[in-house]
Symmetry: C2
Subunit: 264 residues, 2 copies
């Protein structure tokens, strides 16, 4: 009688293989940065198990076939997860955010990736203090967060653009949650629970810079049919805290937190 | 005909005056650290407006009466906010957390304060990597966050203690949300919405260390009558992200986010 094959042990190391095709028996070449991580940071060696993933091909168990200074190859054995993120695609939720100072913008990208955003869009607002971002560096943070949090996809980090231009070309059908610190907007949970359409429409969360949105910006945004102005409680949240709090509540009420990971 | 007195302009600088009595006409001495902040960081001078606050006396508008190297005095004029945090006391919500590495523990204290926790309790668990925390330093972060987010109170940071000891002396009537990354627990929002008692009982959120809780710890915790095991979605959140996400969802659904700040 045939016995069921025991499930493959889950390797601790997950690497994002964006450009590669992943399939049984293939040998995949890693980037120099990934080779460095395996060899010098994680101190792995040929024969050690790693997982490679991307959105197209899912997640694959493999072993390090070769490893040297600046290069590494992985031979793939079997698929551990199918291409679509379990149990089905992530919510289509953008984070549109005015970049903030210091290391806070990196933390926003890392945590927004863990919280399942589908794209990260830095914007410049009237009161923006930070008008440049290192998109490449932020994208690397998104990859690292995706590797850590078991996502199969990595949210793209867009080039910064002016908020008014983004709004002028806003895609039809996508709704926008404006995090409004004026204290006059209804609470986020109330807005999400009152309208089941939040569960199906593409959405975005918009947060302002350290000094908040200008009154003229808020007025213009509030008039738009796709914008819902919402409040985040009685305390004044920092810009980075506001982004993470709003994304958490969205995922809990309108996003994919109702799927148990164990049910995959 | 008497005209209404115009409301005092809100000063940008808010300082926590824990030990002082705040009342009209009193002159309050600040700490050397606060004097340094006013003089060398914010570059304020005698005559500039500042606000002082504490839980007992509320928030008071004052002016810098004197300012030198290591000392400053503020003369108080009028009360801007009454003692009870508007519109009424904050939820009684503890964060019980296994400290994490690097600057992440400071960010947890800062953001948990903004998100309105009433106390911060670091705990040591079986898989804890970090077994020491600088309580004084974390308390300073909580003060700074309270000054920034317009709270009137500052959550105390407790000395770290073993999780099993804290659980053995758990206060009667306080419910505990165990953030369980196993994927088997019902989602946090579902648990909070299913039981209106969450809105009135003292509560706590418990998050584990980088490597999660040990299976034996989870088993023991899940058996306790005051523990509700809850999930935070299909992705694996870092320990610090999990704490902030759980606090956000709690405040949105069972805490004080239903109060508009504008309604105060």
């Amino acid at each position: 009688m045939p016995t069921a094959k025991p499930p493959a042990a889950k390797p601790k190391t997950r690497l994002y293989a964006d450009a590669a095709t992943l399939a049984a028996g293939l040998t995949v070449e890693l980037s120099p940065a990934q080779a460095h991580q395996l060899r010098n940071v994680l101190r792995l060696a040929a024969g050690d198990a790693v997982a490679l993933f991307n959105r197209r091909d899912g997640e694959w168990l493999g072993r390090i076939a070769g490893l040297g200074k600046g290069w590494a190859t992985v031979e793939l054995a079997e698929r551990m997860r199918p291409p679509a993120p379990p149990p089905h695609p992530s919510p289509d939720l953008w984070l549109v955010f005015a970049p903030v100072k210091g290391g806070r913008v990196e933390a926003v990208v890392e945590k927004a990736t863990e919280l399942g955003v589908s794209a990260l869009l830095p914007v410049l607002t009237e009161r923006s203090v930070v008008d440049r971002v290192n998109v490449e560096r932020l994208a690397a943070h998104a990859v690292e967060a995706a590797e850590q949090c078991e996502r199969l996809d990595v949210p793209p980090v867009h080039q910064p653009q002016r908020l008014d231009r983004l709004i002028a070309s806003w895609p039809a059908g996508r709704r926008l949650l404006l995090c409004d610190e004026s204290g006059a907007a209804p609470p986020l949970a109330q807005a999400l629970l009152a309208d089941p359409a939040w569960r199906s429409a593409p959405a975005a969360v918009l947060t302002g810079p350290e000094g908040g949105f200008a009154e003229t910006e808020l007025d213009a945004l509030r008039k738009l049919p796709f914008v819902s102005s919402v409040g985040l409680g009685p305390r004044v949240l920092r810009a980075d805290t506001a982004a993470l709090a709003a994304l958490s509540v969205y995922q809990a009420l309108a996003g994919d937190w109702h799927h148990y990971r164990g049910a995959a």
